[in-house]
């Protein structure tokens, strides 16, 4: 392995005829069909963005509905209560299903991953562009199934129509049997088929990403020079490929039971309800790591770039992603601690659950250490990254309560769980997603967003989020069960605080969306590298041309930021070869030992034969 980390051969945007004409991937080919049949990973990412943001909006509407209905606890005895409870149950189910299957799982890999991954590899596209397009259309098709489920519910509620196959969905996103297979009036088959199709979208994206990372790395990009975002996507893809098929089969079995009366999970037909839970959580637990690993990858990029410092503990962060991916397959039983499974089973799952917490803790400490002695710029993406660290710490630490058996018995199926998973799914993943969107927005659209509005939106979302979910921890530990359409009066203040928080957060998120739309239309023209990052996607115009690069970049250490200096004219950063050489000579990553003597650390690429 070469020991060279010298200046790379990137010389500013070369003006050729296409680029001189201002042509980029957005203008290359016009018309709806050029988008519908595109093989360009960047266009596919943008199409995903539309679908995913639409899904987030739909899921968000249900969330607002849920929190609004919880403002007044209704006396369960009345006829009005029954109708209200039905609406509530449909709302929380659709909120969960839409958010999990149509927003959280695809968002970062399908949007940011699709756009950025090939570019971070200096490649023209993913390994299998047609497969990528298929992934997108499978996603769109799966979304259609859920839209059908939704409309069947709306039609029933508004006009009393009973469409065949059931209306709406009120099983919870977890579809526990035998309620979902034998009792629910909802469009369970339609919903599960939708999830089944969405699963294939996820699997094929995973296949594509793994192949691309293996096969299309550029000269100089050894595994130890892979950007952490790509380590994260690689680990995510492993989970996507291994776990999602299990969900697919499980949902098909559920359909077989519901539609054909095949006895698998319903004891009335000779089946076992807990078997469904095992099958379901065998996928759905690794699924939560599909949600969080790409988010952590984004955070590593943001923290390093906006600290103007090499990420701390690169190897440990990279290896943590892989460790989390592997361990995630062995903890699913912690969702079933009170299902009646044996104490031995519970003990094993509890132990491994604690084990999987350790790599996440390692990442948080490494990010903090990156901030130490750094040169921090508080742009909007950085604010979201810092918010992530705080909220993920809360979410992760509250997992300790839940992994501890004796305490989980009390807390499981209460609002404590709801708060815990919203801190990691929303407070963490959503914050990383928004941060990543702001970060890569200039590259994707060639426009800068308004820094002031981005920051205002961040604070509103951050405060609103905590107001929504922190009270839920307390309500839960005090005994408030989850999925309750009505509740004892002693929990009223918690619910109302939470609902106020939800409206606040909703307003903040609307502001985020508006700031993006505003950037698209009125944003300042973006430089090639507005943030001075050293990953390869920034070695290209903003927005990139159809083929991504004008000059194929060569890779070096993606976190070595020393070669970049601020361009006073353009408002971005430009590469300075001389400066990079000088910095390399000064060896900026020298370690200070306890006695204060300088030591030369062993750098990636050092061998006995080629000492530095």
């Amino acid at each position: 392995m070469s020991a060279v980390t010298g200046p790379i051969s990137y010389h500013g945007p070369v003006l050729d005829a296409e680029h001189a004409a201002g042509d980029n991937y957005l203008t290359h080919g016009r018309g709806l069909l050029s988008w519908a049949f595109t093989l360009d990973h960047k266009r596919i990412a943008i199409m995903y963005m539309v679908g995913v943001c639409f899904s987030f909006f739909v899921g968000g509407v249900f969330a607002i509905l849920v929190r609004t209905m919880l403002w007044h606890p209704l006396d369960p005895g009345s006829a009005a209560a029954t109708k209200s409870f039905d609406l509530y149950n449909h709302s929380f189910t659709l909120h969960g299903s839409v958010m999990v299957f149509m927003f959280i799982i695809p968002a970062i890999p399908a949007i940011l991953g699709n756009f950025v991954l090939p570019m971070q590899l200096g490649a023209k596209d993913v390994a299998f562009p047609r497969l990528n397009l298929l992934s997108f259309w499978l996603y769109a098709f799966g979304v259609c199934f859920f839209m059908y489920v939704l409309f069947s519910g709306v039609l029933h509620a508004a006009f009393g129509w009973n469409v065949p196959g059931g209306y709406g969905l009120d099983t919870g996103w977890t579809f526990y049997t035998p309620y979902s297979s034998s009792r629910a009036q909802g469009a369970v088959v339609a919903a599960t088929l939708g999830a089944f199709i969405l699963g294939f979208s996820s699997i094929l994206t995973g296949v594509n990403f793994i192949a691309t990372i293996h096969m299309l790395r550029p000269k100089g990009m050894t595994w130890s020079r892979l950007p952490l975002f790509l380590w994260a996507l690689y680990s995510t893809s492993i989970i996507q490929i291994l776990a999602t098929p299990v969900l697919g089969i499980t949902l098909l079995l559920l359909c077989a039971e519901r539609a054909l009366g095949v006895g698998i999970f319903d004891p009335a037909l000779g089946g076992d309800p807990v078997l469904f839970q095992h099958f379901f959580w065998f996928y759905s637990h690794p699924a939560v790591y599909i949600m969080i690993l790409p988010a952590m990858g984004v955070i590593s990029e943001l923290i390093s770039t906006f600290s103007r410092k090499h990420i701390f503990g690169y190897t440990f962060i990279a290896m943590s992603s892989v460790a989390i991916a592997l361990l995630s397959f062995f903890v699913w039983g912690h969702h079933m601690f009170v299902s009646g499974q044996s104490p031995l089973t519970n003990a094993v799952f509890s132990l491994i659950t604690f084990a999987v917490a350790i790599p996440s803790a390692i990442k948080v400490f490494n990010w903090l250490a990156t901030l130490y002695g750094a040169d921090i710029r508080l742009n909007t993406p950085m604010l979201f990254a810092l918010g992530f660290i705080i909220l993920f710490t809360v979410g992760g630490l509250t997992g300790l309560f839940l992994g501890t058996l004796a305490v989980d018995v009390h807390l499981t199926n209460t609002y404590f769980i709801v708060a815990h998973f919203h801190y990691v799914m929303m407070g963490s993943m959503l914050f990383a997603f928004i941060g990543g969107m702001y970060y890569w927005w200039p590259k994707m659209f060639g426009r800068m967003y308004s820094e002031r509005w981005g920051q205002i939106a961040f604070w509103i979302v951050f405060i609103g989020f905590n107001l929504t979910f922190f009270p839920q921890f307390i309500a839960g530990s005090r005994g408030m069960p989850r999925r309750y359409a009505s509740y004892p009066v002693q929990f009223v203040s918690f619910h109302r605080a939470s609902s106020i928080g939800a409206y606040t957060m909703g307003a903040g998120l609307v502001l985020v969306g508006l700031s993006w739309v505003h950037a698209l239309r009125r944003g300042k023209k973006a430089p090639d590298n507005p943030w001075g990052s050293n990953t390869l996607e920034w070695r290209s115009p903003s927005p990139p041309p159809h083929d991504n690069f004008l000059v194929t970049p060569e890779a070096d250490d993606p976190y070595d930021l020393s070669g970049w200096k601020q361009d006073p004219a353009g408002g971005g950063w430009v590469y300075d070869a001389e400066r990079a050489a000088k910095a390399a000579a000064l060896n900026p990553t020298t370690l200070l030992s306890a006695s204060g003597r300088k030591r030369q650390p062993r750098r990636h690429g050092d061998t006995e034969a080629h000492p530095r």
Binding site: H310, I362, L378, V394, G479, P488, T590, L591
Partner: protein, 351 residues
């Protein structure tokens, strides 16, 4: 926030409800240890983050060399310390969990029947009540039976919870330490009225009081005339949640004026609602569905409603129907609302 006071040591704290069982103390002690750990690490991360952001914020025009980007010593430290902590939590968590899970010998056995959306607690003498009564300082073993879907028996003040799974008989045990009345919740989503599926556990101040209660309640139930029994069953078996008695449509048809009338069915036929019809319908409600209603009624096998119970319910239905045949021995006159129950099932009203 962290209850360090010695007086009222079992009372509600900021985070937790009062402790009323023998295992609550241990579970709460662990909860508090974890809480301290969380507060410590949260404070550490947040304070360091804010400190670093302030101290190392970029000053315009000032160029700065940044610090190191790896340290094996730090990595080892922040890997080992969390590992030690989680092993400790795992060990004590499992240890106390075993105490919570292993039933003591000679526990008093009560069967909990869960159905959509009603609890029924069956005592060893066969008496069944929608509320759970236990004596203080006596271990109680609950055998959990579901008639339909997954439910979950949750008593916050005891710190116990266990899923009630159809097709199997999960068990949970507890020993109450405080007399009083406490909430019972269903903690596993089970459909429309999941949040209404609540009850209470009444802990009697001594074994004698509990025995007296059980004897009285059993005697009262045994001696109930059919109409009173039917009225009671209408509430305790959950019929009231879907069938009103004043004509209001809920999930199912109102029982007012339904007995003895012709009811159109979804298959186009007309059925006379008589004794045969009711007895058959209750066992297999999906065989024929009333016109305009959804097939959502769960079946009530004899384990939930004995033949005598159904007779009593029929007596009650007759008493509120203008179409029922008049007979002194079977019904009372219509228009005696004084003792009619409300539509809200006993034991599920929020307190």
């Amino acid at each position: 926030m962290w209850n360090l006071t010695l007086c009222d040591a079992n009372g509600p704290t900021f985070w937790l409800p009062q402790r009323a069982s023998t295992v609550a103390g241990g579970a709460d002690a662990l909860f508090n240890v974890i809480l301290w750990i969380c507060v410590f690490f949260f404070a550490l991360v947040t304070v360091l983050l804010v400190l670093f952001v302030i101290k190392y914020r970029h000053r315009p025009g000032v160029e700065r060399d940044t610090a190191a980007s790896h340290s094996m010593a730090l990595e080892a430290t922040w890997t080992l310390i969390p590992t030690v902590i989680v092993v400790f939590l795992y060990y004590y968590g499992f240890k106390h969990y075993l105490r919570m899970n292993v039933e003591p010998p000679n526990a008093y056995e009560i069967t909990a029947h869960a159905q959509m959306w009603q609890w029924g607690f069956e005592y060893p003498n066969g008496y069944s009540d929608p509320e759970l009564h236990v004596p203080v300082h006596a271990p109680v073993l609950m055998v959990l039976e579901s008639a339909d879907v997954i439910h979950s028996l949750f008593v916050p003040v005891f710190r116990v919870k266990k899923d009630v799974v159809p097709g199997r008989y999960n068990r949970l045990w507890f020993e109450a330490t405080e007399p009083g009345t406490f909430d019972i919740y269903c903690a596993a989503y089970c459909g429309t009225n999941h949040s209404a599926m609540r009850s209470h556990v009444i802990v009697h101040k001594d074994q004698a009081e509990f025995d007296r209660w059980l004897a009285d309640a059993t005697a009262r139930a045994d001696n109930l005339p059919p109409l009173e029994k039917g009225r009671k069953l209408y509430v305790t078996k959950g019929c009231a949640q879907c069938h009103s008695i004043d004509g209001t449509r809920i999930t199912g048809p109102s029982w007012k004026d339904v007995f003895g009338a012709m009811q159109p069915m979804t298959d186009g036929s007309q059925s006379l609602v008589d004794e045969t019809f009711v007895h058959n319908f209750v066992r297999n409600p999906q065989a024929k569905v009333p016109m305009g209603y959804s097939p959502v009624m769960p079946p009530f096998p004899t384990s939930l409603l004995s033949e005598n119970d159904v007779d009593a319910l029929i007596t009650f239905m007759k008493s509120i129907s203008v179409h029922a045949p008049r007979s002194d021995s079977l019904s009372t006159r219509i228009g005696q609302p004084a003792t009619a129950p409300t539509t809200a099932p006993a034991g599920t009203m929020p307190r």
